[in-house]
Amino acid sequence: MKYFPLIWAALWRRKARTVLTMLSIVVAFLLFGLLQSVIAAFNAGVDISGADRLVTTGKYSLTQMNPYSYVQDIRAVDGVADVSFASWFGGVYQTERNFFAQFPVDPESYLRIYPEVLLPAEQKQAFIDTRTGAIVAKTLADKYHWKVGDKVPILSTIWPRKDGSKNWEFDLVGIFDAKDAATRGQHEYLLFQHAYFDESKPFGNGMVGWFVTRTVDANRNAEVAKAIDAKFRNSLYPTKTDSEKAFNQSFIKQMGDIESIMRGIMGAVFFTLLLLTGNTMAQSVRDRVPELAVLKTIGFSDRSVLALVLVEALLLCLLAAALGLVIASLLAPPLGTQIPGFTAMELKPAAMLAGLALAALLATIVGLPPALKAKRLDIVNALSGH
């Protein structure tokens, strides 16, 4: 680009104005980047959810418990490869603010169904063998400074023990990590033995929260789901089976309006920004009418003057947007660790590209009117008039 020095000089003609305009754009795209990463946190891992897994819950609500005998019944359904189950413990570690999920599960089948949960073989065996054993996600272990061998006390808000106390204590026998960093947010929990859970509480025994099924062939999922529900339709505890992806998405949909609010905010921000930058570009071109006229006099075509102004606008917007997005990508992960449930907050490359594309669009919209004006400059009037 042999005209680059020309454009660069034009950009920095009025340093203060350019810097301030760029800073507004940086801030706008910082906000864009942060909001995109919050949206990413909401949708984390949903796309990578086991496409071949189904989740079976009580028909009327996820909070409804179901008979343990359903495990065998589901296994007998044609198309089912493997079944596991889990329940909601609903405990609190020290204070309500330290929120993370705890699930009583069957160790062997759960780790088979979720192969993306990885931990050393000896820890896995310890989990299977230890009645009061528990394994926990690495991110939680780091946050609360737990090591293998620690005793983790959890206060249950739902399930008392047979002796009436609410205090459940688990032996930490393993620390696991998710295979994909992106799905870490999906597997941020503590697992312990369902058998221990069942035998220690005074009511609701033999009941389980939900079942997870792996099918023989993902293409048969819909059919298998229907077959499972048909089996329990007329029983005391009818079920509802859906793909794991749909199951996870329904939680996000319940938060519903939050995502559309984020988009609304971004819309308002960009509209404001549009007017701000548009004004700056218009000002800048207005100031340089004599220069542009001179350029035309020495032979620059109308088209090239239009291009010069447009490229200047592009440079301004893209540079500032890139800076804003980079800052957002640096800020998002540390911010995410501060908010419970948002560890997956990060600015994905796709979102960054979308941001840059948006910046280019912004530049075109704000740059076009002054660029057209520059193109149509009448040399004589321009040189004399101003």
Partner: protein, 398 residues
């Protein structure tokens, strides 16, 4: 030599009179601040609306008895015998016949499709008595009728009726063990109960084959601390009971902390970030305003106007423009969002809460203060620069 006040007045008037000549750049401040204020008011109105719905829930003279250690109604379980023991405790108001004004309620969740999403959401089902107004006098049927004892009938809260589909009178909504018939719509004064479905407690427990209540709701003799303490002492000292008692408002306040904090935090964070962006825009505009009037300002200084009047006039111009922007933004937020109904999941109770955006006078005040602040900051440095212009150079320039 005119006094400083007169000088300030004169220069300011002159400044403002020339604003129309700089309409384009002045609009930048107005629009920028309008955008910031509009978004901030909208988000904080959401927090305010949610807070008001939760805060208006419950009365100081009504208490909730949960199983000890349970944080919310969903995780609480009370046996029939335990409920009976609770209802015999001192401190509970009694009616003419000497019966305690207390009711055992069952609290479960059911999936109901949310309007516009086509996706199911966790809605609260409360099993209570048809005569619930004895204990909840704010309850009133607005359409249709109340459910009858033992029958699988549902009355729907106003908020739930607006936010979820399939809950009109005559519709069948899945509660437990098949669809139940909606027979009416109720109001409880705009609180969180309007997001719920109320059914007959015995019908619910029958459909669930359950002998357990979730909670006992009771009317205290009065709202004094002494009465609550009397009840608490009696209940905690009974070895057959393991329960906790709290006033209803306290319970609902604790259940709204997380969502409230999240929305409010989001609102302020966005307002600050956008404010910074708008600040740069304001600075830009005011620098441009000052530089376009360099000769004027220098002339004023040359004929004897002091530096202070110049600074004040620029500041006033900036603040007035920002204020106009703030008013526009707040007005738009009010017109578009006030009363707008929304429902979202309260993660603490794992159930949907329907509420309206509330643009309160306090919020509008905050908005105007914030815009004045931004206007002042945006005008400060340009104002100082204007006052410090070297007069001779400025007169010669341009």
């Amino acid at each position: 030599m005119a006094s400083v006040i007169q000088q300030i007045g004169a220069v300011t008037r002159m400044n403002l009179a020339t604003v129309p000549a700089r309409l384009g750049t002045s609009l930048v401040i107005v629009v920028g601040i309008a955008g910031v204020v509009g978004v901030m008011v909208a988000l904080l109105a959401m927090a305010a609306g949610f807070k008001q719905t939760l805060a208006s829930t419950g009365r100081a003279d009504r208490a909730l008895v949960l199983r000890a250690g349970s944080l919310d109604e969903l995780g609480s379980i009370l046996g029939v015998e335990q409920a009976r023991l609770v209802m015999e405790a001192p401190g509970i108001r009694r009616d003419q016949g000497g019966n305690p004004l207390a009711v055992g309620e069952k609290y479960v969740l059911t999936d109901v499709v949310k309007r516009g999403t086509g996706s199911p959401a966790n809605v609260v089902v409360r099993g209570t008595l048809p005569e619930v107004t004895r204990i909840r006098p704010e309850f009133r049927i607005v359409e249709g009728r109340m459910f009858r004892t033992g029958l699988r009938e549902v009355v729907v809260g106003r908020g739930a009726h607006d936010q979820f589909s399939g809950v009109n009178i005559g519709d069948g909504v899945d509660v437990r063990d098949g669809p139940w018939t909606v027979v009416g719509t109720f109001t409880t004064g705009g609180d969180v109960h309007e997001s719920e479905l109320w059914v007959d407690d015995s019908a619910l427990r029958d459909a669930m084959r359950s002998a357990y209540f979730s909670t006992v709701v009771l009317q205290l003799e009065d709202a004094t601390p002494a009465t609550l303490q009397k009840l608490k002492d009696h209940l905690t000292q009974d070895p057959r009971l393991a329960v906790s008692v709290q006033r209803e408002p306290d319970y609902y306040a604790s259940r709204s902390q997380a969502l409230n904090g999240f929305i409010t935090g989001l609102g302020y964070a966005v307002a600050v970030i956008m404010g910074i962006g708008a600040l740069f825009g304001a600075l830009n505009t005011m620098y441009a305003a000052v530089s376009s009037r360099t000769v004027e300002i220098a002339t004023l200084r040359a004929i004897g106007f002091g530096g202070l009047p110049v600074v004040v006039s620029v500041l006033v111009e900036s603040m007035i423009l920002a204020l106009v922007g703030g008013v526009v933004g707040a007005a738009i937020a009010y017109l578009v969002f006030n009363g707008y109904s929304v429902a979202t999941m309260n993660f603490q109770t794992f159930s949907q809460v329907a509420f309206d955006f509330k643009v309160t006078p306090a919020l509008l005040q905050q908005a105007l203060v914030w815009s004045c602040l931004l206007g002042a900051l945006g005008g400060l440095f340009p104002a100082i620069r204007a006052a410090r212009l070297p007069i001779v150079d400025a007169l010669r320039a341009q």
